[in-house]
Amino acid sequence: MSSSDANPESANPQEDMDDGVEMFHRVNRLKMKTGLLPNDDNVFRIEKEKVDSAQVIIESKASLYPNEVKNVLNALDKAWQDSKKAATRDKAKPHLEKLFHKANQIKDLASTFSYVLMQYFGMSLRDFIEKIDIENPKHLIIVQAHIDVMWVVLNENIKDEGGDKAKELKMIVAKAIEKYSQ
């Protein structure tokens, strides 16, 4: 049976003669659901007008960025305070996981609206949290340096990483990492 006349609902295993793996050629149900035939010349595409109109909607959400970052930074700050209060590594773990995800959310949010500097610090903090030892006081300084500069970036609305202030903030974090990461 060829792949094109297989029942759409059933997998149709065929032995590949070259390497013995089992191959499943299925009818393209997804394309059929868009109203096209699986093997015809018509190619599914989303019209440019729809893509452009989605782009307008995304751009309209840029005005929400400062408030949204502030909310996530507050939650991140809270997770950090809770991590520090935890008596042991095990107890700190869930708070650090939350901190990790909040840093990741800041990175995602900033990258969506091209806030390059905030994206840089969000990613740097997220990556540092992966290897943090909460009982090492030096590591606490590095996290705090990240959080402090992120607030500065937000409050001073710094978007790019090329300006003097941006360079200064990046230097602060780089020095903290260099000095205290051991």
Binding site: V21, M23, N28, L30, R45, Q105, D108, T112
Partner: protein, 188 residues
Amino acid sequence: MSKQPQVGAKKTGSLKGISVLVVEDYPFMVDMLTAMLREFGVGRIIVAENGEEAKDLIRYSFSASGNAIDMVLVDWLMPVCNGVELLQWVRGNKNEQIRFLPMVLISANTSERVVKTSRDFGANEALVKPVSPKSLSSHLAHVINHPRPFVKAPGFFGPDRRRQFREINFNDRRKTAPELVKEYHEQL
């Protein structure tokens, strides 16, 4: 006056009959993704906050009373059950319809490791953040137009990622690497 369809015009299809499950823990990003999908005309958008919730929704959608999900967009990094864990669950599922579900993994990381891991666990596509309407629309269209056959091999079940070598019956104008190098040196 209503528009008359042009004779011989190519059909482009519609997403009105498609159900997409979005698995993302961050509400702001959920809003962005669902806004894009709505503009593209996706008929049904379902949201799960994490991989565990997604498993329940997928199971239900493929039960007798459910309305089957056609495609899943899943974030890589999530608490509780992340994108890769959900992918493993889908590709290892006993339900044949669930096993073949098209999965698009969204990741902020462009590293080779992420792409390789997505491929190794059976993702149909890997979409890099930030997700723009342009990138999302082209990935959706790719999943719809170019489904790869699935492969079952020891330790792997998912779309076939092997390169396909096809005989061509016309003059091949492409240049080989040594030919390109020779041409480059000749131009110097």
